[in-house]
Symmetry: C2
Subunit: 360 residues, 2 copies
């Protein structure tokens, strides 16, 4: 178990972005996936992420990075949140997490940060806490550390982490060096990964000392590093917003995976600790069904099966279709199948093409 | 061509009943199929039936028989209608048509009536008028006459009329005796019927002298005949409603097909004239699509096809499903396929089972 002291200087960063277009029409640009209670738990995915972290650390050490469009909704969903960082425009995950690192590091030089997506689902809080404790212990040694989720099957929807040599870190449990990050595989490759036992799912959970992260950034993305430290230096002063708005738009738009994880892993600077909990990024309606989302109870199934959601409470009837996905909102309706769940984003693309910004 | 004089004593009777449960959720008990503009023509099926007949005979000779629940809606849709017969309860088609025959016959002893379902679609008014003209000429000789629709394919959704010997009637064109009425056939039988050339579709259009029809009724269904003539005798007096309500509930509930058409055809008392027009009873969503019902123009089809109707004007997106049927109303949603169109009635049965009378 994680002792409370071991997380003393640990801060959580939640980048809250991404539209979740494969969950249209539930998820919209103005009402993205992380703000939704997708699994019927009574808490949005963001609130569930908050709850998981706030169980380990106080609210003051949980930071959310988001766009201006969602700042008010997030404040409303997380009344205890004090560390909201509002991006003037989306620049992908590296500037978001890098800004948080620079700001947190300027206040607490010993800080270790962990990044956690706002829209993932995790079950088993004990295993999650245990993995965080191990990751923090390993990160303290100067390694950028990820939590590699133990696969429950040969998914082709996730990236994988290939683990290398065993590391010996006190409190770091079964940490290993990272041999490589690999992109979403095909089915045969995924099956081989799972059978081999050296691959885990990449859930985007990076735990690192702020000085280590900023050091890598200074070396690998110097312009981005300069921009972020410039903003952080002005963060507690009167010119914060002016500096932010002047500097932010020019920052390199890049994911932390490409900016840090991949190059640093090749240098031997990264570690992975196992996360033996149930995890899902709820990327599409097949995943949503798998995490337990239920059909509207009034649905009439005649020689039919699948997921049928009526957000407006109306009655859905399905006849003669199996593994169907039906999602009705007050202004739109999606009809597809589990097998086509990944292609729902094409609907959003088509609606944009038609200028129907009211529906995306 | 039909000469106007030949239709001098011709009255049309439109039994307007039936819920059209296979067209749920568009068609409801309170808003049945015949009141709906299903083909986007701007006129309901009942109004289209009216228009076809009013093109041939004056409004005063067009009679509609319906239940109390729909009387107001029908008066609203057909402002010129003077002959509305309101049934206290549904007793199937024979009492409905028999009552009209008795009432019309008591006013005009030479009357010939023709019955036309309120919810069928017919294209080609010239061919329709020609068939009516022939049927009236044949009916005048004392035969109960049907119009047999020339099949456009081996449908298994309709009953068939097997024609027998050629008849010689002036103005009766190519009328033949009826050898038999046959129920909806299987696919192989239907194909044989169409190939043989002796079978036509039974569209339920019966043309007969009122005295001939009532004579058959007196012989074959004497109790029903007595009840109907009792009501007709009181029709123009003050006691109409009292007699109707006292007599109607005890009338035999039976279709004209079983009460008259089948037994009289076996006695050689029936004839068929060919109807060389496009006809459909729009019995389900496959038929509705075939008669030209269009999907909502905003529908997004991604690797998909079929019929998608949003009665509430919202946008439907279908991904990866072909020959699908999607019908959205403000309070309900149906998702099925063309192949399962006939099974939609099972949804209505299930909703009734659940006590959801608000939805059926």
């Amino acid at each position: 178990m994680t002792s409370p002291e071991s997380l003393d200087s640990f801060h959580a960063v939640i980048p809250a972005g991404g539209a979740g277009t494969r969950l249209w029409p539930l998820s919209r640009a103005a009402r993205p996936k992380f703000l939704l209670d997708l699994d019927g738990s009574g808490r949005s995915l963001l609130q569930q992420t908050w709850d998981r972290l706030n169980d380990l650390i106080p609210a003051e050490r949980i930071h959310v990075v988001t766009g201006a469009a969602h700042a008010d909704a997030i404040r409303e969903q997380l009344p205890e949140l004090t560390g909201l960082l509002v991006e003037p425009s989306p620049r992908d995950s590296m500037p978001a997490i890098g800004l948080a690192a620079a700001v947190i590091g300027s206040i607490d030089p010993d800080a270790i940060i962990g990044s956690f997506a706002a829209d993932h689902i995790i079950d088993d809080q004990v295993a999650f806490a245990d993995a965080i404790g191990q990751a923090v212990a390993v990160a303290r040694t100067g390694l950028v550390t990820t939590i590699g989720i133990t696969p429950t099957g040969p998914s082709t929807a996730f990236g994988y982490i290939e683990s290398g040599d065993q590391l010996t870190v006190e409190g770091g449990g079964s940490a290993r060096a990272i041999a490589a990050f690999v992109e979403k595989p095909d089915a045969a490759t995924a099956a081989a990964y799972v059978a081999g036992g050296h691959h885990s799912w990449n859930g985007g959970m990076f735990v690192t000392r702020t000085d280590v992260l900023l050091g890598h950034l200074a070396r690998l993305q110097p312009a981005l590093h300069t921009g972020l430290t410039t903003i952080a230096a002005a963060w507690t002063g009167e010119k914060r917003q002016a500096v932010l708005e002047a500097t932010w738009p020019a920052l390199t738009k890049i994911a932390i995976d490409h900016a840090i994880a991949e190059p640093v892993s090749l240098e031997g600077g990264m570690a992975v600790v196992p996360g033996a909990f149930t995890w899902d990024d709820v990327g599409d309606y097949a995943a949503l069904q798998d995490v337990g989302a239920a059909s509207s109870p009034e649905t009439v199934w005649i020689d039919a099966s699948g997921l049928a959601i009526a957000e407006d409470g109306t009655t859905i009837a399905v006849v003669g279709l199996h593994d169907v996905v039906v999602v009705r909102t007050p202004d739109a309706l999606l009809v597809t199948t589990r097998d086509h769940a990944q292609r729902v984003k094409e609907v959003v693309a088509e609606l944009k093409e038609r200028g129907r910004t009211d529906l995306v």
